[in-house]
Amino acid sequence: SAAARRPWKLFGAMCLLRLPRITQPMEKEEEEVAALMEQIELEKSHYSDHEIRKLEEEEQLKRKKESLYDEDEARGKTVIMAQDLEEKWEQKFLRFKAAPRITDADKSNDRTSLSRKLDSNLMLLVKQKIGNQELWLLPQVEWQPGETLRSTAERAMATFLGDHVQAKVLGNAPYGIYKYKFPRAIRTENNVGAKVFFFKAYLQSSDLSQAELKADYLWVTKKELGDYLKSEYLKKVNRFLLD
């Protein structure tokens, strides 16, 4: 159908998600249940090989101290005791340092960096000029006849992030739609309003060394979306976002 007949302008927008790297902290009830289950399992479990060996060696040591059974036991004596092994493992464990869960970006609340909030989804928001206003939106670009909406969304992503973004678009079907009518001043026969179709994509690599074309971008979580988006827009966007 020709675009001239339809008074709506079509846009394709891309919602780029950065997947969480770490699991979210457990709720209070979850922690209690986990601790209880661990205790039950510990009480129900049997001794492992290592523990049996340790107990036997302790008994051997005790018997050696009390009476002289050295000659008999010396034959079956092992070079490395289980206790030594355990101490070695403990030392190794203490030397190991895990990466911090709360990164620097979290502490400084730097919303443009990707390493913030490693346990939740981050979305890309860009400042775009629509009509006369500069608004924070998901990156969107106008649809051109002859291309699929999905490629419009990919083009939108490419214009804001450069060509070599490793993002995986999920499926050909749009996730949501937002339509709005232009204010009366601009409204003509052909241009009543616009419809924005949202697509979702996952960011594969967290390394965005390519230069970003438009400087105003943000990576925000779902809760922080409310700070930037308008309420109607926000409602439609929230419908397809999983937390």
Partner: protein
């Protein structure tokens, strides 16, 4: 001896075959060990449907993987997606040897077992597939690798054990 002396209904008597009951039970089909042919992919224009899809979960931790597989299975049941099979692949054992060279060469062994569970799904519509993928991905536990791929002959064959004697005989015959 008491059993031998009991009354046995003779063939001419009306009470012949009085204790029979097997004809009342439903007929049991004898089990055949043949492989089922795989389903073809149905793709009609706007309505896409994937054929058989395997969701493979691998991890070092057995409990995590099993619980996650159970969760995925139940999720598909609730979303009324047909689950063909849900099976486990054989576990692979890896021995890790550390060679420390601080004076005397010490070797510390570690034994790692890799477990794999597969849930096979049929009839996933393409509009719903990315949503399902997102749900599963967002609920993935730490340390579990997820892989979704289409089911192939090779996947099916990998579950079966090879029989070297049979192959030898076949080679000799041909």
């Amino acid at each position: 001896d008491a059993l031998l002396g009991c009354h046995r209904s003779y063939r001419s008597r009306p009470t012949h075959g009085i204790g029979k009951f097997k004809y009342l039970l439903p007929k049991e089909v004898p089990k055949r060990r043949r492989e089922k042919v795989q389903m073809k992919e149905i793709s009609e224009g706007t309505e896409y449907q994937y054929g058989d899809i395997n969701i493979q979960m691998t991890s070092y931790d057995l409990c995590l993987v099993e619980h996650f597989a159970q969760y995925v299975h139940r999720l598909c049941n609730r979303l009324s997606i047909r689950v063909n099979e849900s099976y486990a692949m054989p576990t692979k054992t890896n021995e890790v040897l550390f060679l420390e060279e601080k004076g005397s060469k010490m070797q510390l062994d570690a034994v790692l077992t890799t477990h794999q569970r597969v849930v096979q799904i049929r009839g996933l519509s393409s509009t719903f597939a990315p949503i399902l993928l997102e749900i599963i991905q967002s609920n993935q536990p730490e340390g579990v690798h997820l892989l979704m791929k289409q089911h192939t002959e090779a996947d099916f064959k990998s579950r079966l054990k090879s029989r070297p004697e049979l192959e030898e005989l076949l080679a000799e015959m041909s």
